[in-house]
Amino acid sequence: MTTQLDARIPSGPLADKWTKHRAESKLVNPNNKRKFDILVVGSGLAGASAAASLAELGYHVKCFCFQDSARRAHSIAAQGGINAAKNYQNDGDSVFRLFYDTIKGGDFRSREANVYRLAEVSANIIDQCVAQGVPFAREYGGLLANRSFGGAQVSRTFYARGQTGQQLLLGAYQALSDQINMGGVKMFPRSELLDLVIVDGHAKGIVVRDLKTGEISSFPGDAVVLATGGYGNVFYLSTNARGCNVSATYRAYKRGAFFANPCYTQIHPTCIPVGGPYQSKLTLMSESLRNDGRVWVPKNKGESRRPDQIPEAERDYYLERKYPSFGNLAPRDIASRSAKEVCDEGRGVGPGGLGVYLDFAESIRRLGEQTIRERYGNLFDIYHNITGENAYQVPMRIYPAVHYTMGGLWVDYNLMSNVPGLHVLGEANFSDHGANRLGASALMQGLADGYFVIPCTIANYLATQLGKKVSPDRPEFRAVEEEVRGRVKKLLSIKGKRSATSFHQELGLLVWEQCGMARSRDGLKDALQKIGPLREEFWENLNVLGGQQELNQSLEQAGRVADFLEFAELMCLDALEREESCGGHFRVEYQTEEGEAVRNDKDFCHVTAWQYTGPDSKPVANIEPLVFENVKLAQRSYK
């Protein structure tokens, strides 16, 4: 049975929807706010900003993160910047343009109203962050500086050196710390969500394992806010932090929340290439480097000369050649696929031929090494440290890597999932980036959701919950806790031969091959046939040492891998059933002669929101049609 999805998009002209919605949203009066407990899971940009802002309003907030401190959430690693339609550069930017760039960048697979709202509040984010003391880059006159970023022809990206995510997160973390000090937020670090508690169809609590003591307990709440990030680590190797996982959103999916567009994954074009099987993660080199670096490979296959020995005439600056108007700033999905193409042709560079050059020689000649050092010094240092090479002298070698996931739990305009009370923010939801996210838009979305959207929209739910507080004595809490305990016990009792890491690596390689940069019907079917048996082996041959009542990293990891092993199937199924190419989802069957993605707007201009139906049954695909009233669907062109 498919469910009719109601996104609750306000009526009226696009530009008025958010103002109208705020005016028409329900309010909870200050005395009543104090009566509500909100559980925020995750302390990244979305979680920390939401927890702090909700507490400022007077709600009681409990915030959970698996790291040892809220400040370490993976938002901290974002390098390049945050977009905002401030038009400080007088270069023709506007809310509509940011909206349009984001919709187009997402290959017309996101919801107009949500994206417009994102563009609209983007300017407030910059104001808020500056007020908190975020040290954005400035011009000599003291005003804010901007840079340009992939997929846009205006300079609207605000940045703090190559550490924008860090500075924005510290701003949110400090606001959160203020609220912890004031008593509005109680923080639970080293705490991992293991399940969601549903009472009478509403999300009313979570079950958490204290990672220090191993204690499993449940927390009741009037609403649950998941801000737990993306699932990029299903590929094992990605630019995500080691701890990033799908468990919170996947557990919610198994409790009834719909998982939307899981096949939309973003492969970032500029990462340091894979070195060997020992590798535990991939390191991103900010896309901002493409402002001054030129991407090229040799024209000849099997070129063995050093890059500086290859004359200009024998170099192929393939992005500039194929996309003259955007050149090296082509959007991420296009830049990644082009890199794969030239490497598949045998023109890749470096070990294994899986790399392309990102060359700064011309910029250094034009601007001087000092300017390049000022703009990207820390990135060049990171590169040097990992590869031992000096990119001021030899071109960087880069290759695409999994970076971000656009799919996530389905939410309506209020950022509430189909499960009443369950709200989902940031990368964990599916809402704003369609099939491909533009650079510097993740930070924007995380903070838009947390600072400006949820503080307003959560009232629409809470106003209906006055006097309906759920008692923690309800049997639902005990039942879920027991299920979680049983699962943990099972993981510890298998006592097989393989570590969780070895399963994770095998799964990662499989989905990277078949559900990575290029996907085919046969490849996806192959993956779907192999994931099941791998999962079965996991539950028969896993080896987790140590106990439950202690800090046990192998156990934490095993739980996350167990969820990835189920989730991977959903991702491949979604990729198989979406018979078109769009954004980061490239199906080899659907491309032009030049290798560009071919969308199928007739059959697939919709969101697929998957509904869990049991362990051995195929999930149900619920459809939310995407209606475009303000933009004309076009084949994306960056030529």
Binding site: S49, S69, Q132, G142, A160, D178, Y278, T501
Partner: protein, 253 residues
């Protein structure tokens, strides 16, 4: 490459710990230090021995979660890097490597190489912020901030909160950590209204949590992955002195 490891193992906060010997065999020179430990741990699991517990997350030097003392140096040899950015090519084949947790009275050991650094969170909670209610901010360009000041604030703001400064300091002082936040916020016009209360509350919380005093060893600066300059400590001392005098004057009426 092969290495002999001397690794601190400790079951929990309440038990005694000790160094145990391990062999790291066939380690690629391109592997990071933590990847070397991953390889050792996979070997231990295969032999039914409990893996070595250590903290890490982003593995690109920015989250501040990794926290090892390698051969007696917080974050190991080399300047301006976290443990996760330390690569095995820096070591000699066959070398013996000593691996310990960050040690400071205010950072109790949780297990093996993992320590509890929540004291740093408590210092920030005591005042390491600018109170700015969401939604009430003026236009971002309404307060121009000269590039020099903004750049200096950014240098201080780059602190990743790893705790190496306190671990390296003979007095287990957290002065560099506190100085970084005090300077970041105190340099900016937005940070002025709370400047006095901020420094007072942060320093007093730092003292109460058991961090020692600064006696100018500069070990903190030497190990800091974010290259926070110890000159920020002078700024902290100045701000704290001013705050204390103001408090004294206020008390006299």
């Amino acid at each position: 490459m092969n290495f002999k490891l001397k690794v601190w193992r400790q079951q929990n906060e309440n038990t005694a710990g000790q160094f145990r010997d391990y062999e790291a065999i066939n380690i690629p020179a391109e592997a990071s230090f933590l990847e070397m430990l991953d390889i050792v741990n996979e070997g231990l699991i295969a032999r039914q021995e409990e893996p070595i517990a250590f903290d890490s997350d982003c593995r690109e030097g920015i989250c501040g979660m990794c926290s090892l003392v390698v051969n007696g140096i917080a974050h190991g040899p080399g300047k301006a890097k976290t443990t996760c950015q330390l690569y095995m090519r820096r070591f000699q084949d066959g070398e013996t490597i000593w691996i310990e947790p960050f040690r400071a009275a205010a950072f109790p050991i949780v297990k093996d190489l993992i320590v509890d650094r929540s004291a740093f969170d408590r210092i920030i909670q005591a005042g390491g912020y600018i109170t700015a209610r969401t939604g009430s901010a003026p236009d971002a360009n309404s307060i121009p901030i000269g590039k020099t000041v903004a750049d200096l604030a950014m240098e201080a703001a780059a602190c990743i909160g790893c705790g190496a400064c306190a671990a390296a300091c003979p007095n287990s002082s957290a002065m560099l950590f506190v100085a970084a936040k005090i300077s970041h916020l105190g340099l900016l016009p937005q940070g002025q209204p709370e400047r006095t209360s901020r420094v007072r509350n942060m320093v007093r919380t730092m003292d109460a949590l058991g961090f020692g005093s600064c006696t100018n060893h500069y070990e903190c600066e030497a190990v800091c992955p974010a290259e926070i300059s110890a000159t920020f400590i002078s700024r902290l001392n100045r701000d704290y002195a001013v705050a204390s005098i103001r408090e004294g004057l206020a008390a006299r009426g």
